[in-house]
């Protein structure tokens, strides 16, 4: 694997390989000594043009557990705020000997530009670009669903027939897009539930069903409900009348959780707006996977860095992504 830019371009075999390696990484994290020497001497740069705490520290933890050196580069207070271009920043990192660049950017497609422009030879991992994709989040969500359903028997299994409901601001959500592609590649049936103002204009090409009524979707007893964060920083237009109304119609409160079958999962990528899209008791209930998602995120990112940074610097059997 040369880069990880999106989940749309992942085949089922590629996705399962990442998830299976993540299983092995998760196993090593229960040992006495959690640190592995695997990526000793490799340098991973976290290049974050957008604020993020959990994704950045998750990548940092993953790289450090594999003994890679980590350089954190936040755009705020750096040369970028002085007007440096993406190209110059990238080439600076290249000159410092970066083997992998984990990039988050507010512009959709920035990681692809970095990967295909020829500016750098390092492997590129998309850690969220604009409203496009956030592939490692989707991989950790799929990993979490698989782990809860199949336990120790998860390896090499897909999510065939698993019904997943994704609720919230699909329009702005890269998490929703990445999950949509990955989950359907793995065989899951995806339903999007969203206010009509927060769905992209044309979703006919998406492998998903769209509903506007959360109660209708929950009544079908889905295996997992994934709540998206209402990104207040992106709510610059009047997408819904008030937070209170949003919460009442599309928020997951205890009454709605009660409707779900006993083994359905409640998922949230974090950070949560408690009381807005998810109520405190839904977030803290035993069916909530919020903290597992965080722990699994480290294992999945270890797997991605491992697959990116080992092997000869050429395309292995996973093949080149488009």
């Amino acid at each position: 694997m040369r880069h990880l830019l999106d989940t749309r371009g992942l085949s089922r075999a590629q996705a399962l390989r990442i998830l299976d390696v993540a299983e092995d990484m998760a196993d090593t994290q229960s040992r006495e000594v959690k640190k592995l020497p695997t990526l000793r001497g490799k340098t991973v740069v976290n290049l974050f043009f957008e604020d993020s705490t959990r994704t950045r520290i998750s990548f940092e933890a993953a790289a450090k557990r594999l003994s890679a050196d980590v350089i954190n580069f936040a755009a705020k207070g750096s040369s970028v705020s002085k007007g440096e271009s993406l190209k110059d920043t990238a080439q600076t990192l290249e000159a410092m000997g970066a083997d992998a660049v984990v990039v988050r950017h507010s512009a959709s497609g920035a990681p692809r530009t970095l990967a295909t422009s020829g500016w750098i030879s390092a492997g590129v991992v998309n850690a969220g670009d604009g409203t496009h994709e956030h592939p490692t989040q989707a991989l950790l969500d799929a990993f979490t669903i698989r782990k809860r359903r199949f336990g120790a028997d998860s390896r090499s299994r897909g999510l065939d027939g698993v019904r997943v409901v994704i609720v919230g601001d699909v329009l702005h959500s890269r998490v929703a897009r990445s999950n949509l592609w990955l989950l359907s590649t793995l065989g899951a049936e995806v339903t999007l539930v969203t206010p009509p103002t927060l769905i992209p204009q044309d979703v006919r090409a998406w492998p998903a069903r769209v509903l506007y009524d959360l109660d209708e979707a929950l009544a079908e007893g889905p295996e997992a409900v994934m709540m998206l964060r209402i990104q207040l920083e992106r709510m610059n237009a009047a997408f819904f009348p008030s937070e209170r109304e949003y919460s009442r119609r599309w928020g997951l409160d205890s009454a709605r959780v009660e409707m779900l079958p006993g083994d359905s999962l409640v998922m949230h990528p974090g950070p949560m707006n408690r009381g807005l899209e998810i109520s405190a008791d839904a977030a803290d209930s035993p069916r909530s996977t919020v903290l597992e998602q965080v722990a699994n995120g480290v294992s999945v990112r270890m797997a991605v860095l491992y697959l990116l940074l080992t092997g000869e610097r050429m395309d292995d059997e996973m093949g080149e992504k488009r």
Binding site: M1, D24, D27, R155, E312
Partner: protein, 178 residues
Amino acid sequence: MSTRIVLHEADITRALTRIAHEILESNRGAENLVLLGIPTRGATLAERLAPIIGSIAQVEVPVGALDVTLFRDDLARNPTRSPQPTHIPDGGIDGRTVVLVDDVLFSGRSIRAALDALQAVGRPAAVRLAILVDRGHRELPIRPDFVGKNIPSSRQERVNVRLREVDGEELVSIEEAR
């Protein structure tokens, strides 16, 4: 390219039985023994060896698998390998005599990685090495304690161990260099 069979099914079975006796002899019984096979075929051999030792000594011998992929020093020189599951038997390895089991001993680099991997799991009292085939060409100061068969080979040859559980047939062969 020609292939020559050097061990047949009966030879492999005999070699494992002899190794089982040798392990018991050098350990003075089965006390404190833990067998850890290196995936894929080393793990299979360990799974076979444990009941043989167990039936001779009339005890159950703990057996597991120890993956060494993440501890290798040649990850950047080969196509990406997928790690295999590690399984440490209940009771762990602290203070026990661990016998590492692998199919072929060649450069010794897998075993070096295995010693590092063991360190991450615990602190055994002693580590021994049991090997089905020793083909020579060591690159590190590592030697086996128990050997099924020494097969002198040239570096260009390939030694293939095929086991029923993994490959559907049971033999050890040498493929000559082209």
